[in-house]
Amino acid sequence: MSRRACGLGVIAGCCMLAGVVTTRASAQEDPRTAVKFAQALRERGYFDLAAEFLESIRDQKSMPPELRSMVDYELGRISVDEASRTGDLVRRQELLDQARKKLDAFVTANPNHPRASEAMVQLARLLVERGHIAVLNALDFDPVKEKNERDAKFAEARGSFARARESYEKAVARLKTDYAKFPAFLPDDDPRKQQRDEVHSALMDAELQKAIVDYEDGQTHPAGSKERLESLSRGVTQFEGLFKSYRTQFAGLAARMWQAKCLEEKGGEDNLGAAMGIYKELMDHRDPRVRSLQRHVQYFMILVMEKRKQFALAADECTRWMSSYNSIDAQRSTEGLGVQLELAKSILAQLPEISEKEKPIAIDRATDRLKNVVRFASPHKAEALALLRQYKPTAALNANKVANLSYEDAMTQAEQAYSSREWENAITLYRAAIRRVDPAKDPDKANLARYTLAVCYYMSKHFYKASVVAEQIARRYPKNGLAPKAAELAIGSFVEAYNAYRETDRASDLRHVVDLAEFTAATWPDTEQADAARITLGQIYDGFGNHEKAIAAYESVRSGSNRWVEARTKVGSSHWELSQALRRKGTPEANKAADAELSKAVDRLKEALKSRQDAGAGPSDAALVNNACDLADVYLETSRAADGLALLTPFATGIANLKNRPDALAKPYARVLADLLRAHIATNQVDQALADMGVLEKSGPGGAGLTQLYFGLGKLLEREMESLQKKGDSAGLRRTQSAYQKFLTALVASKTGQTYESLMWAGENMLKLDNGKEAGVVFQRVLEDLAKDKEPADPARHAQRVLRARLRLVSALRGQGDFTRAESELGEIASANPRMLEPLVEKALLAEARAEARQGTWAASFQQWRDLAGRLERARPKPVEYYDAWWHCAYALQKQNQTAKARQTLSAIMRLSPTLGSPEMKTKYQDLLKKLK
């Protein structure tokens, strides 16, 4: 559960407590004006009424079918419009998803409907709104510390805008064709006139929106940059053209406003003057259609005044604006919040001119406005927050004052502290508010305070406190509007606690999560929170290996849910895991069942992938990339490498071409490259696989991502070398070994993100490449890292790791020829672990190494191996080390020129145990026997 989504969820939660509009009784609506009326309600911003009205039309049998068929289209438009006006990003995303469903349903059911073209325009608007969300998310990142993430989000926004532009172009082309079908002149009483006018309006709107997308695209570049200035110049020309074409229409007047906006942003007194002239012209317009524009125009005028440093004028204009547009919706709109920010800025800019006595009052007035702005997601939030921190730095609360606050005052101050992310102050104030309310009489007030208190606990990482408070609301007040969100918060808190606190009873936390998730899914089955809970259950069951239960949980996520595509991806993975588990059983029935599960896995993963792509996700979308990799993994494991290659190549190219790749994409990119390598290897394109490695070194992810990526590559190449060895490809083997060595070195050299497993693996493989010196350095480093962990979470596991690293170090020392140190180290290990096999093996290897280096005798080596074999003889079944010990005995005899005895030794063992423990060992025996002839 992301903290950003959690925080924003408070706003949505508060909205849920606002007055719920009751269902209107169906009345006999005039069909001639029904749609126009619904559109007018939407344009007024009465989205709830418009939606209710349309649903009542749907149910009215007296309405003509062609009218009822348009309901989904109009409902989709309402959702898009409402999304564009809401500052709650979570709610905005929900509305866009709702809109997409309605519009897709309309287009599917009515492909030849006259409104189908307009539906395309609305779907284009959806993409624009997604771009807006990406921009708002970008602005949330620190421009210096989180530059990559910020830039990536702006890039994502540009991607959405680019797709929107394409959609608008297609829609414009189609609308022009539709419009051209009507005669140029139609008398007023011609029934086609209204339809033609509607098509014309849609065409003008599409052209206008396309131009606005270009403007918005320019806004994703920094102010003053070449790209933005070019965009503004283009905008002036484009909007001016539209105004000239449609000057008496709303689209023309809107274009005029945007023309002025582009001039204003270009700056310079001439441009500001021209812009202001246009704004005044629009403000003087008496046409009631212009009223909706004037709200924006007046805000833009304020910006001009501010740029001209006419701060007093700007402040007055802000006050006038807020008086004219004093509804909650208007004040919380983007322009409303912008006006409040400008008011604050204008007041603060005038501080030098006012007396010292008046300055605190002025600052209070300004910061009150800023506190309101920071409560909502908008392009103005970051600037408001910075000003707030400058003029009202965090101060400790006065306990006495807090104790005397009323519920309302405590809540107001708490919200301000919350918006400024002053969690401790917010917690104190919410607790004060809770104390002031009687939950029996005012449960809604009490629960609102409790819920936001829980959020504050969560945001300040007091996860158990958060879970306790939130769960209380969920279980004791299930009918409260906030209860589902509280349950979601409680689950999220427990999950965070499970991940963070390893010393507590984690199994108990997990059981609690399961219980709460089941409660949530059962109590509010038709909510997004229930779907989130179902996914959590699925993940837990998967973790326990109970894939059938996981699949059932994922499949229970509603098809209309925002989490549906995520559930689809996960259920695909669960089917795959189940398929593998069944296949491991090895029976014909299990294999048949495994095939069925495999088929389901591929279908679900493909379904999810297509859904993501249809929604506009691109290569910068980590979830999309992971989805593709999940599918590619299945292909690769089921000998469909070519399919994996075809799937992943565009992703690799797309990600590589991203200018600013966010860190969040590092792991998914690593997966893509790893899978791509596997695919190239599996399709015998080893050179391409090595070239992939070169690409990675140049443009791969940095830091921990690179390390883990090398690790994955190493595993792949190891498999490839084994394969080359079997084929007898010496040149290929040498090349691969060289590559192998190269990245093993790079892996070890990488300072960050090294895990025990990756370092040990690197060291062990260096040993296999006879690079004992470098291997020794690695194992020494591992031991040093392990020594730093004074209080390991799992002492037994820690000790085992130390032992393994020490044993490998001994091997490395042996490989370097440092026998004395190796024996000293080994002696300590053997004394502490007298029953352990590995030290004994190592002892024998050491003796052999000494003999090889002529620092010991082969007789001594033979004796060591003979003793080891003797110890292992009684084991049932005999371990492979037993046979290996006898092989070494024969080798030692060979070295002593006792060839016949060596041969006899090997043959005797082979007679007694023909399989010799493993095919590899058998091969080893046969190879030596050949040499002994």
């Binding site: 007055g19 509009v21 009751t22 209107r24 009784a25 009345a27 006999q28 005039d30 001639r32 004006t33 126009k36 009326f37 007018a40 309600l41 007024r44 009465y46 009424l49 009205f53 009483d189 008496r286 009631p288 008086s323 004219s324 547009y325 004093n326 509804s327 909650i328 919706d329 208007a330």
Partner: protein
């Protein structure tokens, strides 16, 4: 009737625009209503208007003469009418009523040699002022004076009936019941005046609280009107108001929805009044949400009607307050204050505001 006059202005402008491009005409141009009973080419009668009475026009073309009943006339464009006349029509269409009234006044002054033109200009000046007065009572005296002077000067002209009717409505708004009675008497004596007089009389009874009497008057009228939709409309609206006052809500609603269906969707005069009355009726029946929707029809679709729009806004303010959305109520109230600062409906809407703490 006001509707007829409004439509005639619109048609006149359209014609005026068309003719302006085609060169000066040498005849008066009478556009007929759609489906007119008068035989003509292209729905128009062209010639020189030689006489205008409350019932008909006399048009001469060469040696022939044709009479056109007034109720078949959609609009008239007089040969040689001053540019200010056309300009006034344009300004009126654009919603600049005060400016349009001034331009009609100027046109009248410029048309002393063309009596029919002058009469038309003076009528439109008085009519617009009267319409403005219905939304802004401060203009009532001026409007009444203009209409009174006009009706005395042109008692036999074609505009007399709508002029007296408007005068009566203003007198009713002012509460001058004696004046209304006199106007009703005048209308009754005029051709085509009986129906209008009947409706006015019913409204007078209703205004004085005698709804049963109003209903009786209207029922009589409607029986005589037959199925003429425009005649039925005014009567039905008045009847619905009285039915609602008598708490016979279901009947009122049925009548009002019949008016809505029977009139053209774009007939903003008919529709705005019908929806507002419907809103009042539904509100009285306790159906606040439905009332809101009714008022919103006027506000969103028929705000052109400057008499009914403030009434709708006031209804919206009240409805939102009753539903519990003060923010939306305040927004509607702001619009009312801004656009109709002198409307009596503003005072009514302000009464719903919560008192500001002192």
């Amino acid at each position: 009737m006001r509707t007829w006059n409004r439509l005639s202005v619109v048609a006149g402008i359209a014609l005026g625009t068309a003719w302006a491009g085609s060169g000066a005409s040498r005849a008066d141009d009478v556009a007929l209503v759609a489906g007119s009973t008068v035989k003509s080419i292209g729905g128009r009668v062209r010639g020189q208007i030689s006489a205008e009475t409350p019932t008909e026009l006399t048009v001469k073309l060469g040696a022939s003469t044709q009479t056109v009943p007034i109720d078949q006339v959609a609009s008239i464009r007089y040969d040689g009418q001053p540019a200010n006349m056309t300009l006034a029509e344009t300004r009126e269409l654009a919603g600049s009523y005060a400016e349009a009234a001034d331009l009609y006044k100027k046109a009248a002054a410029e048309s002393s040699a063309k009596p029919f033109v002058m009469q038309a200009a003076l009528f439109h000046q008085a009519r617009i002022t009267g319409d403005m007065a219905l939304a802004d009572p401060s203009k009532t005296s001026e409007a009444i004076a203009l209409l009174d002077a006009f009706t005395r000067s042109y008692a036999n002209g074609r505009h007399i009936v709508p002029a007296v009717e408007l005068l009566a409505r203003l007198q009713l708004q002012k509460g001058d019941y004696a004046g209304v009675e006199k106007s009703i008497t005048r209308i009754e004596a005029l051709p085509r005046g009986a129906d209008r007089a009947g409706v006015l009389r019913a409204r007078l009874h209703a205004r004085q609280g005698n709804h049963e009497k109003a209903l009786a008057e209207l029922d009589k009228l409607m029986k005589a009107a037959g199925s003429n939709p425009s005649k039925m409309r005014e009567a039905r609206l008045a009847k619905a108001e009285s039915l609602a006052a008598l708490k016979r809500f279901s009947e009122a609603e049925t009548d009002l929805r019949a008016v809505i269906s029977a009139n053209a969707a774009e007939d903003f005069v008919a529709q705005s009044a019908a929806y507002n009355t419907l809103g009042d009726c539904l509100r009285a029946a306790g159906r606040k949400k439905d009332a809101l929707y009714a008022y919103l029809h006027t506000d969103l679709l028929y705000s052109k009607d400057k008499e009914q729009h403030p009434r709708a806004l006031a209804g919206i303010v009240r409805a939102w307050r009753e539903i519990g959305r003060d923010d939306r109520a305040d927004e509607a109230l702001e619009t009312l204050k801004k656009d109709y600062p002198k409307s009596p409906w503003l005072a009514a809407a302000k009464e719903t505001e919560a008192p500001t703490p002192k």
